[in-house]
Amino acid sequence: MATTVHEPPRIEPPHERSRLSAGSGNGGRSLVPADGDLRRIKDYSPPPSATGIWVVMASITMSFLAFTSALIVRQGSASDWHHLTLPRILYLNTLVLLASSIALEVARRQVRSFMAGGRHSAAYPTRWLYITLFLGLLFVAGQYFAWLQLRAQGLFLATNPNSSFFYVLTAIHALHVSGGLGGLARVILRLNRSILRQSTLDATAHYWHFMDGLWVYLLLLLWMKL
């Protein structure tokens, strides 16, 4: 996810500009001022955000592995585990989140094709990014609705260990999805201002798909009776 963001050339002092464009491989820079032309914006080489997003995903994976092992141990430690029936809306939410990933992928391909000189205008992928954003928000709202349904059944955070884990896992996942929504909003903003880099979009997309996969994993974990 390379998110290096390009600074508009007008605020770069001239000597900085020449230095930045003089980079070479092995960590050197290859950032060329683009004068507002999206197609000419280049990334750092290699883009730190491409590495960074994997670092982020590794750390989130570790956190959810810790939660998973806690869930497994807790489930086996006493007989008070009452397996709850998942609210049906979760399955609909899953479809919404998967659809958002598809929409984001469509947007990403269009941006890539546009940057490579294809025929789409930059406004075209923006539409798909808005659709992704909307579906993401719908997912978070849907999760909230699922919590309301559980509350209506009298299942609260402390009711039994299964409901505790349900609320904790879904809430922390929703928090991470909200971070992804912030990232998407940032991508849209940058695309509109013609200062988006491909690496920024790629990193956001990786993160978003990761949230997708993580949700499917959590759903299985909560659904399965281990």
């Binding site: 000597h15 730190p48 997003i53 750390s59 939660f67 006493a78 505790s164």
Partner: protein, 595 residues
């Protein structure tokens, strides 16, 4: 986590005071902020240890003014048993998190990692700034627990459940104190995760032309490997803290078992697992030991090589050994739980890798010793502290062999033997690494030299003092002196050990007081020290190639350096002397190129 790299490398020099010194994006300022935080934390932690030591030597002694700290904990200035445990918990938490993690890793790493790889800054400067301020907030939250009604938590820095999870019924500080403790640590984890993100991407993506991974100095390798550990370890501690907080504030039962009766009250929890907390905690806790020590190993190697004027016997084997420590550190954590009631088969499974991990540790020490053999050593203060690090690491590490085996550990685990072991191998050794780094890099950070005479006085007082304090701990442990007790005089078999405790207390007070020499040297040299040249130690790595000292805002001025050599080209003949700098294109005859 998204993309802050927009500002990478070319955020303009700040002009306002706030941007320059407080909410700075400059990795050098952030490094100094971390150092300052660690300095405040270590002073607080040291004063707490003095209070505990005085109490251990003279149990009923009224420490003047102690009731100002806590009127409940010290009525008439005499410490209550509970308050002793509260101070012990805070001493350990402050030292482990806010000193041993913060100074060698976050402080020096922030300042020097980008410079040593030849970058203008870290790729995500906003996250870097956040990482410091989040850590600072974590420290404030922890210190705030001194000021809540029943004071800070008394559960020890390991916060074993169920005591830590039952709330106020567990004793003073077990209510709000634990909530603040767990919140502080969770916040600290966020800061360290943000820091690790920057450290890893800096090392992998920001290296300048010619700087291959093998050409990184050993200090940079230390920080890189530590950040990989931090990324995985703190990511596990944070969920554990969240679950612990929920057991307190939301009435969940993650860690509290059924039918627990405390103070004649049946606890309203059911079915939780106390061992679960220990597993989650120590999965972080053991890597944390290496998070504290591996940066020190890198710094010490870096300092020693410069003063030996020759490279280590093997640059690569040292790096592989650092890596082996990191990987194995996740497989050994169960050795902290030999007496926890864990299945004995698990104990055996954890004992084996614990013995294995001594192999990379031994290799590292042997490489240091072998490289030192026959070297014409420049014994400046930084070098002395680096040697002191090795001494402490060996002395403290040897006792690890006994503790690695369940059969002997069961005898020694709850005694001062363990206290002596970890204080030497992790605490004092890491402190010596911090001191070595401070004396070595101070000229670059502040443009002035530290006073060498005062530095040497500081070293010898600290070195002798540390041995006087922590060596007797091993004897106390073998004599059966249990740890975490606040008084021994009334226990027959321990009463005769009290004089030794008094000796330790006096040593601790004197050694602590001798740190004033360091503090004076630090502050005096900062303002009135002899001006430093760009490369006072005639060293080779990139931090000594900056155009000014301290380095300019973007580290290298108009042109990023290009790297032509391995990091430690000493013992060669060049136009500048017996070394050639990494950024110098000069070709020399007899190098030690290994990469």
């Amino acid at each position: 986590m998204h993309d802050m790299s927009a500002h990478v490398a070319h955020h303009a020099p700040p002009t306002s005071f706030i941007r320059k010194h407080i909410f700075s994006l400059d990795h050098k300022v952030i490094g100094k902020q971390y150092y300052g935080l660690a300095l405040i934390a270590v002073l607080v932690g040291m004063v707490l240890s003095w209070l505990m030591r005085i109490h251990l030597g003279w149990t009923n002694y009224a420490i003047p003014g102690l009731h100002f700290l806590s009127s409940n904990g010290a009525p008439g200035n005499v410490m209550t048993p509970e308050y002793y445990l509260q101070l012990m918990t805070m001493h350990a938490t402050i030292m482990v998190f806010f000193v041993l993690t913060t100074a060698p890793f976050a402080a020096f790493g922030n300042y020097f990692l980008p410079i040593q790889v030849g970058a203008e800054d870290m790729p995500f400067p906003h996250f870097n700034m956040m990482s410091f301020w989040v850590t600072f907030v974590g420290f404030v939250v922890l210190i705030a627990s001194f000021f809540v009604s029943d004071g800070p938590t008394l559960g020890g820095w390991t916060q074993y459940a169920p005591l830590s999870a039952v709330g106020a019924v567990g004793g003073p500080g077990e209510g709000m104190g634990v909530v603040l403790w767990a919140s502080s640590i969770a916040i600290f984890c966020v800061g360290q995760l943000l820091g690790s993100l920057n450290f890893i991407t800096t090392t992998l993506d920001m290296r300048t032309k010619g700087m291959s991974l093998w050409r990184l100095p050993l200090s940079a390798w230390g920080w890189f490997i530590t950040s990989c550990m931090g990324l995985t370890a703190f990511a596990v501690l944070m969920p554990a803290c969240i679950l612990l907080i929920l057991d307190h504030v939301a009435g969940t039962s993650f860690f509290v078992p059924s039918n627990l009766v405390l103070n004649d009250q049946l606890q309203p929890h059911a079915g939780g697992s106390t061992l679960l907390w220990q597993h989650l905690f120590w999965f972080f806790g053991h890597p944390e030991v290496y998070i504290a020590i591996v940066p020190g190993m890198g710094i010490v190697s870096h300092v020693l090589i410069t003063n030996m004027r020759k490279p280590m016997l093997s640059h690569r084997v040292l790096i592989y050994s650092f890596g082996a420590l990191a990987v194995l550190s996740y497989m050994v954590y169960g050795h902290h739980m030999f007496v926890s009631g864990m299945n004995p088969v698990s104990s055996l499974a954890f004992s084996f890798p614990t013995l294995i991990i001594t192999i990379p540790s031994t290799i590292i020490v042997l490489i240091w010793m072998g490289s030192l053999y026959g070297a014409k050593l420049h014994t400046n203060t930084a070098c002395l502290f680096a040697l002191g690090f090795i001494s402490m690491f060996i002395s403290g590490g040897v006792s690890g062999f006994f503790l690695a085996q369940p059969s002997t550990d069961i005898m020694l685990h709850a005694t001062y033997f363990v206290v002596g072991h970890f204080h030497m191998v992790m605490g004092v050794a890491a402190m010596f690494g911090i001191f070595a780094g401070t004396y070595f890099w101070f000229p670059k950070m502040f443009g002035r030299m530290m006073n060498e005479t005062l530095g040497k006085v500081h070293f010898w007082l600290t070195f002798v003092g540390a041995y006087c304090i922590f060596m007797p701990f091993h004897y106390l442990g073998l004599a059966g002196n249990v740890r975490r007790y606040q008084a021994f005089a009334n226990v027959d078999y321990m009463a005769h050990l009290v004089p030794l405790h008094r000796f330790i207390t006096i040593s601790a007070l004197l050694t602590g007081a001798s740190q004033l020499v360091f503090l004076y040297n630090l502050i005096h040299s900062r303002f009135w020290g002899k001006p430093a040249t760009d490369n006072p130690w005639q060293a080779t790595s990139l931090e000594w190639s900056t155009p000014t000292t301290p380095p300019p805002h973007n580290n290298f001025g108009d042109k990023l350096p290009e790297v032509f050599h391995d990091p430690y080209q000493y013992g060669v003949e060049s136009s500048v002397g017996d070394y050639v700098m990494q950024a110098s294109p000069e070709q020399v005859s007899s190098g030690h190129d290994e990469a």
